[in-house]
């Protein structure tokens, strides 16, 4: 992190209260140190183009004042409370957020009324530069973006890293495609009955459907629709609902059901392929109603381990309320490796990048607990970082 020096003349406005004169410096007693120098005005911090592994991007939904939503860039291992915040960007009215994995930029899709809450509504897609947190480009959106509580897959970057796809909901469902090169809006593609944008293969997008199936939309090199494929229903949206929030490990997607079944999709090909399901819970645990629960209830580390918030005594209606434990799975082996008791409930979790991952948890008091992923031990609790409702946690890149 270094400063961008702007060579701006120091202009001070007030006559009479300023008495700084060069001659004063000369009059300083020889024994006393010289006075502090006049400092430059206009300096602004610059961030690195690639963020350290222990930073997280906190989606502060600002649920009580949605005009003030923001993404807070936070160093979750910093011990000094005052030095944890690295920067913030605005994200209006439950704006959507995603990041490019290798290019130093991220994206916010947000809505504005001409007068705060009234007047013409405009949705805009905004490209932020990671180093300056300045807007590189703004695209006026062609339709109504999806506006919900924060999700990881309302927007995504495609497998080839060349397109950003973003879900719309008017309430008819569609998604729009933006090029990474040049940031041009390329197309808007209807996905009747199916929502969200799970990156699939190189240039495909899968969406989850009301009939319990999946729809994969294949894009061509110009970001236009090439084909759409419907995958037959694999769950019942009334009786055996799943979370719309999968974890995707090496293009293998895992969608937990409300009751703890794990549905596996292969997203590595051009079209999503259903690979069956297995259970996160034993028969005993199922009888005790141990269930996945939470908002951002699932994430993975870079070693491929998957972390899921689990609640005991789950019931109809408690599916997003969070839980008291985090279960760690090797999803390839369909094996539970560890159980972590969280210190103070867990509503959302996010896992940092790197070989020594940390679990960051939005706890029951809506502040963050940082846990060591291996030992489960509490490293620190982070409150007071400009937060009110930090509902979703993203890795940084």
């Amino acid at each position: 992190m270094h400063n961008a020096h702007r060579n701006k003349a120091v202009i001070t406005l007030w006559l009479g209260i300023l008495g700084f004169l060069g001659s004063n410096l000369l009059q300083a007693a020889e024994d006393s140190p010289p006075p502090l120098p006049v400092e430059e005005i206009g300096n602004v911090v610059r961030l690195p183009a690639s963020y350290p592994e222990h930073w997280m991007m906190i989606d502060e939904a600002s649920f009580f004042s949605m005009y003030g939503g923001k993404v807070i860039i936070l160093d979750v291992l910093e011990k000094h409370p005052a030095k944890r915040i690295k920067g913030m960007v605005h994200k209006n009215l439950l704006g959507n957020f995603t990041q490019h994995p290798s290019k130093p930029e991220f994206y916010v899709l947000e809505s504005f009324h001409e007068r705060g809450w009234r007047g013409k509504k405009t949705d805009v897609f905004v490209v932020y530069d990671r180093e300056t947190l300045k807007i590189q480009k703004e695209i006026v959106w062609p339709t109504h973006r999806m506006q919900t509580l924060p999700q990881r897959y309302t927007m995504a970057v495609t497998g080839d890293e060349k397109f950003i796809v973003a879900a719309n909901f008017t309430p008819a469902a569609s998604f729009s495609v933006v090029s990474v090169d040049g940031h041009e809006l390329l197309s808007t593609i209807g996905t009747p009955g199916c929502v969200l944008t799970y990156p699939t293969g190189k240039r495909s997008v899968s969406s989850l459907c009301s009939n319990g199936g999946m729809l994969t939309t294949v894009l061509d090199r110009k970001g236009q629709v090439k084909a759409q494929h419907r995958i037959e229903p694999f769950f019942d949206s009334d009786d055996t609902p799943i979370f719309e929030r999968p974890v995707i490990v090496d293009q293998q997607a895992y969608f937990p059901s409300f009751k703890g079944k794990m549905h596996h999709f292969d997203f590595s090909g051009e079209v999503a392929e259903y690979k069956g399901s297995w259970s996160l819970v034993s028969d005993e645990e199922a009888a005790a109603n141990w269930r996945p629960s939470g908002l951002g209830l699932i994430d993975q580390d870079e070693q491929g381990l998957v972390y899921v918030i689990m609640q005991p005594d789950g019931a109809e209606g408690t599916q997003t309320h969070g839980g008291s434990q985090i279960w760690v799975f090797d999803v390839a082996k369909q094996q539970r490796l560890n159980v972590i008791d969280v210190p103070n409930w867990a509503i959302t979790l996010g896992v940092t990048r790197g070989k020594e991952p940390k679990i960051v948890v939005t706890n029951g008091e809506l502040v963050l607990d940082v846990l060591d992923a291996a030992s489960g031990e509490l490293i620190q609790t982070i409150a007071d970082f400009g937060n009110v409702t930090p509902l979703m946690l993203h890795k940084s890149y």
Partner: protein, 172 residues
């Protein structure tokens, strides 16, 4: 939910001057996925029937436990200058909604409840109530309360939620 209630009630005391967090924050109003695949249906109004007995309902609409709120997730209009079926002044009631099925403990019948949001004023910010019974993710938007259902209103800004009886459920 009991555990969560405890935690969040504790939290609510801590943030007393900020707002009540009667339960976890997870929703807004009501939505409509796959509008393309699910047809819209106008439903007949009940004719006013003259009957000897009066319809029977009890409970406290200022409480999150009120029977009509079984699938709600949002600020209760009852606390915001409106009430359980009427919007606060200055707001507009959404026409798009999501729907729950709740049992009236007094007559034992299941009713279809429409959770119409009141839109067009900054968030009310008190009496947050999250029940979520039979709430489904956004792929079943007809039952999803995580969507901002003010999307079809003049202003898309969410203020609070009502719980309006729109009919008897099938099983009655």
């Amino acid at each position: 939910m009991k555990i969560l209630d405890k935690i969040l009630e504790k939290s609510a005391r801590n943030v007393a001057q900020h707002s009540s967090r009667r339960s976890l924050l997870t929703g807004l109003g009501t939505a409509l996925v796959g509008a393309a695949s699910i047809p819209l249906l106008p439903v007949a109004r009940a004719s006013d029937q003259q009957q000897a007995q009066k319809p029977d309902e009890s409970g406290d609409p200022t409480s999150c436990d009120y029977w009509r709120y079984c699938a709600i997730d949002g600020f209760l209009c009852e606390c915001c200058g409106g009430n359980y079926n009427t919007c606060p002044p200055g707001t507009e009631m959404s026409t798009l909604t999501w729907i729950g099925t709740c049992k009236n403990p007094t007559d034992g019948r299941n009713y279809v409840i429409s959770y119409n949001d009141c839109c067009g004023v900054t968030q009310c910010g008190t009496c947050l109530c999250q029940r979520d019974e039979r709430d489904r993710p956004i792929y079943r938007a007809d039952k999803s309360n995580d969507v901002n259902w003010c999307l079809g209103s003049e202003s898309t800004v969410y203020h609070c939620s009502t719980a309006i009886v729109v009919g008897l459920a099938f099983d009655n």
